[in-house]
Symmetry: C2
Subunit: 218 residues, 2 copies
């Protein structure tokens, strides 16, 4: 397996990159700047890639924001909601068709590298406010990717039955550089501790009973 | 139906835009600069959009070429093959995963506009050297697009059983501005007449017995 990891510099894809480095014949990382307000995660992706000694590319497409309007994750004029993902207000963080766009770009890059696998950190804890985190969406993308070229290309999702706290446990076991990862949507100096993804990150470490190395504002 | 037309400024998508203007409640056009050497088609897309009086956006992502290497359609250091699409040499014009990337971007834009349909000019004459022109690929993308959001989004492909000469006939019947369209991959001042898409364009007009308004180099 030659695997291109769709890699944000967050917790999930860092555990995945660490796992793939162990399992795959060859592993490369791809990060994508789609105009997210937390583009800070891209700096963290570089630190993680360096730590893991894996080749890493960042594709900068900040113009994407111009056609994907209306999300508080890309539009800084909108207020980023605080609280738990389960809340209605969190829906404003949905970026329309984000995951299909990221997977399509990773597919093109994997094919041009002659790689056979896209590794994707979708997991069972992904929240139902994001329709493109549903397993049936990823299944459909796996089918489409397998038909996009004459060469074999498949979507590898080893974490699909794991929760985020399972990923923290696995990351600790694999000695993944969790301390270098970035989750927060706000993109301030340190993690805000209040947005949906910060709340979830804290919970995952607590549930896994692993000390949380993250500095939070509060 | 509110339709976003994936629109290159070529013959097929111009006939589609003309048809959708007639059939849909609302129609908008989206063109994408993915670093293609024939970016000239984008100027033609503007002329066609103006003629049809349809709103039109061009998303400029020329950086895509940096991760989609190895195609003679995006890499000007490679020689663009001449001749018929059926020839082996034409395979160098395949841009890895191009159609998935274009459909994913159109999907994101359609969702952010509140549109329910992506109109796509795939037709029966699309050539088997392009794996992502296969009907089964488009079927898989239709499924994935329907799952990418809570809102309905579907892939409308009204030309799927028509040949390119059928499209020329339909275009003439609908009074589509075929004279403003651009096909040639070479991207010179006028159509080269020798690349795969020029050869196909000439054949389509001849078979449809419609006078070809195109000026060719030869």
């Amino acid at each position: 397996m030659k695997a291109l990891v769709l890699f944000s510099g967050g917790l999930d894809s860092t555990v995945l990159a660490t796992q793939m480095k162990k399992d795959a014949e060859e592993t490369r990382l791809l990060s994508i700047d789609y105009g997210q307000r937390h583009a800070k995660e891209l700096n963290h992706s570089q630190q993680v890639a360096k730590h893991l000694e894996l080749p890493h590319e960042i594709l900068k497409l900040p113009q994407l924001g111009t056609i994907l309007g209306g999300s508080s994750l890309t539009d800084k004029s909108l207020i980023l909601p605080e609280g738990h993902y389960a809340e209605e207000s969190m829906k404003s963080t949905v970026v329309p068709n984000r995951n299909m766009i990221l997977l399509a770009l990773a597919g093109g890059h994997a094919l041009s590298l002659g790689f056979d696998t896209i590794a994707y950190a979708a997991h069972a804890g992904d929240h139902t406010i994001y329709p493109d985190c549903r397993p049936e969406f990823a299944d459909a993308m796996d089918t489409a990717l397998s038909l996009a070229d004459w060469n074999t290309l498949s979507l590898h999702r080893p974490f699909v039955d794991m929760t985020k706290s399972d990923l923290v446990s696995l990351g600790a076991e694999l000695d993944a550089p969790l301390h270098l990862t970035w989750s927060c949507y706000a993109g301030n100096e340190i993690h805000c501790g209040k947005c949906g993804t910060c709340v979830e990150r804290k919970e995952a470490f607590a549930l896994a009973k692993i000390p949380d190395p993250t500095k939070y504002e509060e």
